[in-house]
Symmetry: C2
Subunit: 144 residues, 2 copies
């Protein structure tokens, strides 16, 4: 569904959000530990997310990553997916055709658009804040 990089990104964002809610800036090593993702790879992914402006970072001692509490409610999972995997999830053809539209559809186009539109809606209505509070409450887990 999503690339591995995208999975790492979503998990990292959720963990950082929980810490930001407690006004704690987190180092990449902490992120890796709490998400079970490879540290260096996650660092690279965070660079992309930082450039896209959906996470902020500070170098040096007492540095690390954080997400503004207000932003957190505005950032949706769809933003993370788009930042890492691009629009393939939303616009790509189910059979991988370069051009596949209402006018020139592939055989599964009509069946596919319906399901994908629901996936899109789901991602667009789920905020990082929603997921972070879920994680804080202990009802869900990031590792295992």
């Amino acid at each position: 569904m999503f690339s591995k990089a995208c999975e790492h990104a979503i998990k990292a964002m959720i963990y950082i959000a929980t810490q930001s809610l407690e006004n704690k800036r987190v180092k990449i090593g902490d992120v890796a530990k709490h998400t079970g993702s490879p540290e260096a790879y996650t660092a690279k992914i965070m660079g992309t997310l930082n450039k896209q402006g959906i996470v902020s970072s500070l170098t040096g001692p007492y540095g690390g990553f954080e997400i503004n509490a207000k932003m957190m409610k505005q950032i949706k999972v769809s933003d993370i997916v788009f930042a890492i995997d691009g629009d393939s999830v939303y616009n790509g053809c189910g059979l991988g055709l370069n051009e596949c539209s209402e006018e020139k559809p592939c055989p599964i186009h009509n069946e596919f658009v319906k399901v994908r539109s629901e996936l899109k809606t789901m991602l667009e209505t789920t905020s990082v804040f929603d997921l972070a509070t879920k994680l804080q409450s202990g009802e869900v887990t990031l590792v295992r």
Copy 2:
């Protein structure tokens, strides 16, 4: 969504089905031409589908691939996806956790299962025959 191999597989099955409906056995070169997929790779994929029993093949002159007309209505897209990509589409965690269930869910588990269940239903209710007749009618395309 699906692997490239799986896309090739679905396209190949649909094309072979249209030919089988006209009692024509097709060679792998024909399949590749009409699906835009690489011939040798498709050949390998067909081997897997053949072993799984969702397509039949005959070696030698006048050989090739075909799908029994009765079977064609029973074979669903879900069977092809399962044969090539396994059950990851149906059971895999959205965040890639090894264990993710109702009891120990990941943060997006509940949102995810709903969408995926609709995808599953869609794939399970769409037969190769349905798609082949659509392609025959000219309302959809396999290449581009």
